[in-house]
C-alpha cells in the first residue's frame, strides 16, 4: 500500500502555529550553534592559513619587550634567511580610545611588500590605480612619503578614509613630546588574500617612528617588538629557527623564534578557555532545543493516536505510521536548520563590522553550515522516534477509543 506522505504535510499545516514555533526554535538553536562554532573556526583559520616558511623573532621574556634594532642585520646574515622586516606594534587610536582602536604596525616597506605579495592584494593606489598596477604604485609612494600608510579595506570603510587623506592617531605607547597626535597619509588600500592577515590593520614606515624617537619628537622604547623573517626556499624552517635563537642565547636579549602559525596560535592560547567555553554553550543550546522539539513531536504524536488507529484498521502497516511521524519531524527541523543557517550567514557581516578588533575575519563556512543542518535533521529524527515507538505499540482498538 502506498505511503500517504501528504498526510504529514496536512498535519504540519493544520497546526501551523505550533509548527512554526518549532521551526523557529530549531532555527535559533542552529543559528547560535553556527555562530559560536564560526568564532572558534575563525580563530583556528588564522593559525592554519599562516605561512610555514615565515618565522617571527621575538623576545623570549615578554611580548612587551622590544629587541635591539641591530638584531636585524644579525638575523639577515643567518644562512637560509631571505627577507627580514621590523614589525613594531604602535597601539594608537583614532579620536576615541574604545571605538577608534585598531592595529597598526611599523614595517620596512621593501621586504614587507615582497614578503606579503601573496597575502595581500592592493586594490587602490595613490593616484586611483587599481590592482595589479596599484601594488607597484603604493610601494613606490611609500618609499617617497615618510608618513605614508597602507590600510585594510575594512578600516577604510569603518572610518571613511580615502587615499590621500591625512589621519591623526593618538598613541599612548609612544606619546609625542608636543602632546599632539601622529600624522599619517593614506597611500593605498589592501584586501587580504588569506586568513592570517586581516582587513583592519594599518602598516606604516618603521623609520618614521624611529626617526621621531631619535630626534626627541616622541618618547617610548626604541627597538622592534618582532622581526618577520622569510625563510629562503630550499632551506629548513626548523633549522633557521634554531640558528637564530642560538645567536642570542647569551643576550643581550634572548629570543624566541617561531613560525607564523605558532605565533598566531600563541595569541589564540592567550584567550584562555574561551573556545572551550563557547563550544560548551553551543552544546547546551542544541541540547535544550532538542528537548523542546522532542516535546512538540510527542504532543503531535499524542494528538493523532486516534487517527493512527484508523490507519491501522485500514491496513496500513506499523512502519508506515512510524515513517510518517519521523518524516514530519525531520521536515520541520530541517526547515528550522535552513532558517538558522540563513540567520547565521546574515549575522556574519555584522560581526565583521562590530567586532573587527577581535574577529576581523569572521565568516560562516560551508562545513559549519553543513554540520548545523545535520544537527537540525538529526534532532528531527530522534524527536520523531519517541512518538513513533509509542504509536506503533498502541493497539488499533485502544487507539480508536482514545480521546487524543
Amino acid at each position: 500500500m502506498k505511503v500517504p506522505w501528504g498526510l504529514a504535510l496536512r498535519h504540519i499545516f493544520e497546526h501551523w502555529f505550533r509548527n512554526l514555533l518549532t521551526v523557529l526554535a530549531v532555527g535559533v538553536a542552529v543559528f547560535l550553534f553556527c555562530f559560536l562554532v564560526s568564532l572558534i573556526v575563525t580563530l583556528d583559520d588564522q593559525v592554519e592559513e599562516a605561512s610555514q616558511d615565515r618565522v617571527i623573532v621575538q623576545s623570549a621574556v615578554s611580548l612587551f619587550v622590544t629587541l635591539p634594532l641591530d638584531y636585524l642585520a644579525k638575523i639577515a646574515a643567518v644562512p637560509g634567511v631571505g627577507d627580514v622586516t621590523k614589525w613594531q606594534w604602535f597601539g594608537a587610536y583614532f579620536q576615541n580610545q574604545s571605538e577608534g582602536f585598531f592595529a597598526q604596525f611599523g614595517v620596512d616597506p621593501d621586504p614587507f611588500f615582497r614578503m606579503y605579495e601573496r597575502d595581500i592584494r592592493i586594490i587602490e593606489g595613490p593616484n586611483g590605480e587599481t590592482a595589479p598596477a596599484a601594488r607597484e604604485a603604493v610601494h613606490l609612494a611609500m618609499l617617497e612619503e615618510k608618513r605614508g600608510a597602507l590600510i585594510g579595506q575594512a578600516l577604510a570603510k569603518k572610518f571613511g578614509w580615502k587615499v590621500g587623506e591625512a589621519i591623526p592617531l593618538t598613541c599612548t605607547l609612544f606619546p609625542r613630546t608636543d602632546g599632539g597626535a601622529w600624522d599619517f597619509v593614506v597611500l593605498g588600500i589592501y584586501e587580504k588574500q588569506r586568513a592570517n592577515v586581516d582587513d583592519s590593520t594599518l602598516f606604516f614606515r618603521f623609520d618614521y617612528l624611529e626617526d621621531t624617537l631619535r630626534n626627541g619628537g616622541a618618547t617610548g622604547p626604541l627597538g622592534s617588538g618582532t622581526f618577520f623573517v622569510q625563510v629562503a626556499p630550499d632551506h629548513e624552517t626548523a633549522e633557521v629557527i634554531e640558528t637564530i635563537d642560538a645567536l642570542f642565547t647569551n643576550g643581550p636579549q634572548r629570543t624566541k623564534t617561531s613560525t607564523e602559525a605558532a605565533f598566531q596560535a600563541s595569541f589564540v592560547s592567550m584567550l584562555g578557555n574561551l573556545p572551550l567555553f563557547l563550544g560548551t554553550i553551543g552544546g547546551a543550546v542544541v541540547f535544550a532545543v532538542f528537548f523542546s522539539v522532542v516535546n512538540t513531536m510527542m504532543i503531535s504524536g499524542r494528538q493523532r493516536i486516534r487517527e493512527s488507529g484508523i490507519l491501522k484498521a485500514l491496513g496500513f502497516p506499523n512502519l508506515t505510521l512510524g515513517a510518517l511521524i519521523v518524516y514530519e519531524s525531520v521536515l520541520l527541523s530541517s526547515l528550522g536548520g535552513l532558517v538558522g543557517i540563513g540567520l547565521a550567514f546574515g549575522a556574519a557581516r555584522g560581526v565583521r563590522q562590530k567586532m573587527a578588533n577581535f574577529f576581523p575575519n569572521f565568516a560562516v563556512g560551508p562545513e559549519t553550515m553543513a554540520i548545523g543542518f545535520g544537527i537540525a535533521a538529526g534532532i528531527g529524527v530522534i524527536a520523531g522516534v519517541t512518538p513513533m515507538v509509542h504509536l506503533m505499540r498502541t493497539k488499533p482498538t485502544d487507539a480508536m477509543r482514545s480521546e487524543g
Binding site: V28, M270, L271, V285
Partner: protein, 411 residues
C-alpha cells in the same frame, strides 16, 4: 473566586514529561546566563575598590595601565624627597614604593603560552597595601637576592611556579622561594626585588610609584574653595584635592607625572573584558531565551488544546475569562520557576571553580573563579519566571477566549 493554585500545580504534574522538557530549555538559558555573569563577577572582584582612600599610584601621563608607564629613577627620587602629600613614617621615611611591572611569558600547565604579571617590589610595597600580602608557603624573598615569590593561583596553573623551582628572566635564574596570597589582581602576580628585576631585564625605568598620601596638604597652597565656587558657576564638577594635585604634577617640568587613586586605577582595568563578558551574556541569554519562550509557548498551547473540554466546563460553571487566563499564566510561570531552579542547580557546582583569562586592558593573564552572587541568582530566577510568563501569555489568552459551548462540544 479565583482558580486555586492547586489546579495549576496538578496540571503540571499530570503533564510532567512536557513540563520537565520545557523547564529544561529554560534551565539551560538560566545556566548560561549565570555562568557568564559569574565569570564576570569573579573577574571584577579582583579589581573591586578596596583598602583606604589615601593609597595612590603615580604613572607617566597618558598611560592607562602600568605596562605603558615609565618613571625614571631621577623622577622617582625627586618624587619621594619633595612631594608634600606623601606620608612619612616616624623615622621620616616616605611611605612609598618604587615598582617595576612587566608581563612575562609563562607556560600554562594545560599547554600554551600566556602573559603573567611580574612585579618588582620594595619592602615598602608590603606596608602600603592593605591588607598586606602574606606568605602562605615557603618564605619571604630576601632583598637583593635573585629570588621571587608567586601568587597562590599561579602554582596550580603555570609551569615552574612551585617553591624550589627556577624562573629564568632573560639570562638570570630566579629561585621561587615562597607562595603568597594577596587581595585582588596582585594575588596572581610574581614578585621579586625591583632592583634585581630591573637589572635582569635591562629595563632602566620604574613603572609606577605607589604611596600613601594626604591630598589635603594641597589646601594649604591652593584656595580650592574659591576655584570650586567658580567651577560651580560654570556648571562644572568641583575638583577634589587629588585632582588639583594631579594637575600640578602634570605640569611640573621635573616630574611630569599623573596621580591617580588606586581605587580609580583598578576600576579602569576591567572595562574591556567586563564589557565583552556582559555583551556575551546578554547576547546568549537573548537568543536562548527566544528558543525557550518558543518551547514554553508550544507546551502551553498543547496544554490548552488538550484541555479545551475542561475549559468549557470551567466556563460553564461560572469562571470568568480573566480567571482562566490567570490560571494558565500561573501554570506557565510555574514551569519557568521550575526551570529557574533547575538552572541554578546546574550552575551551582561551578561556583568557586578557578579559571583564568586574559585581561584585555592589561593583556595579562588573571586568575579568578566563578563567583555566583545572590543578585545574579535572583536575576536569573526572574528571567526564568519571565520566560515562562511570556511563553504562556498567548496560549492562556487562547484558553480565555474559548466559547463555552464550542469548547464543551470538543472531545
Amino acid at each position: 473566586m479565583a482558580l486555586p493554585l492547586g489546579y495549576s500545580l496538578r496540571n503540571l504534574r499530570v503533564r510532567r514529561t512536557s513540563t520537565l522538557f520545557t523547564a529544561l530549555g529554560i534551565a539551560m538559558t538560566v545556566a548560561v546566563f549565570c555562568g557568564v555573569f559569574s565569570l564576570k563577577n569573579g573577574f571584577e572582584q579582583l579589581y573591586r575598590p578596596r583598602g583606604s582612600e589615601d593609597l595612590v599610584i603615580y604613572l607617566r601621563p597618558g598611560a592607562t595601565s602600568e605596562g605603558e608607564s615609565g618613571i625614571t629613577r631621577e623622577q622617582a627620587n625627586i618624587l619621594l624627597k619633595e612631594r608634600p602629600e606623601i606620608l612619612r613614617d616616624d623615622a621620616g621615611e616616605p611611605l612609598a614604593a618604587l615598582e617595576s611591572y612587566l608581563a612575562v611569558y609563562m607556560q600554562k600547565l594545560d599547554g600554551g603560552l600566556t602573559n603573567v604579571p611580574l612585579r618588582g617590589v620594595q619592602r615598602r610595597s608590603f606596608e602600603v597595601l592593605e591588607p598586606p600580602p602574606r606568605i602562605v608557603e615557603g618564605r619571604m624573598l630576601q632583598w637583593g637576592a635573585d629570588e621571587v615569590i608567586v601568587g597562590r593561583p599561579l602554582t596550580g596553573r603555570m609551569r615552574g611556579c612551585l617553591v624550589g623551582e627556577t624562573l629564568t628572566l632573560n639570562l638570570t635564574p630566579f629561585r621561587v622561594v615562597g607562595v603568597f596570597e594577596a587581595e585582588g589582581a596582585y594575588g596572581g602576580e610574581i614578585w621579586g626585588d625591583v632592583e634585581r628585576m630591573m637589572e635582569a631585564l635591562e629595563r632602566p625605568v620604574f613603572q609606577r610609584v605607589i604611596a600613601r598620601v594626604d591630598p589635603s596638604v594641597v589646601l594649604q597652597l591652593v584656595d580650592i574653595a574659591t576655584i570650586n565656587a567658580a567651577r560651580e558657576r560654570l556648571g562644572e564638577d568641583p575638583l577634589t584635592p587629588l585632582q588639583v594635585l594631579d594637575a600640578q604634577l602634570r605640569e611640573d617640568a621635573r616630574t611630569p607625572l599623573q596621580i591617580i587613586s588606586e581605587r580609580e586605577y583598578l576600576a579602569k582595568q576591567t572595562t574591556f573584558l567586563s564589557a565583552g563578558l556582559a555583551g556575551l551574556a546578554v547576547f546568549l541569554t537573548a537568543i536562548m531565551g527566544i528558543a525557550a519562550i518558543l518551547g514554553a509557548m508550544n507546551t502551553m498551547l498543547a496544554a490548552v488544546s488538550a484541555r479545551t473540554h475542561e475549559v468549557g466546563v470551567l466556563k460553564a460553571i461560572g469562571y470568568e475569562p480573566g480567571q482562566i487566563f490567570g490560571a494558565f499564566l500561573v501554570e506557565s510561570a510555574l514551569i519557568g520557576a521550575v526551570g529557574g531552579a533547575l538552572g541554578l542547580l546546574i550552575v551551582a557546582p561551578f561556583h568557586g571553580v578557578e579559571t583564568g583569562a586574559t585581561n584585555w586592558n592589561t593583556f595579562t593573564d588573571v586568575s579568578f573563579s566563578f563567583t555566583l552572587s545572590p543578585a545574579i541568582a535572583a536575576m536569573a530566577f526572574g528571567i526564568a519566571f519571565l520566560l515562562g510568563m511570556v511563553g504562556g501569555a498567548l496560549p492562556a489568552l487562547r484558553a480565555a477566549r474559548l466559547k463555552p459551548v464550542d469548547a464543551l462540544r470538543m472531545q
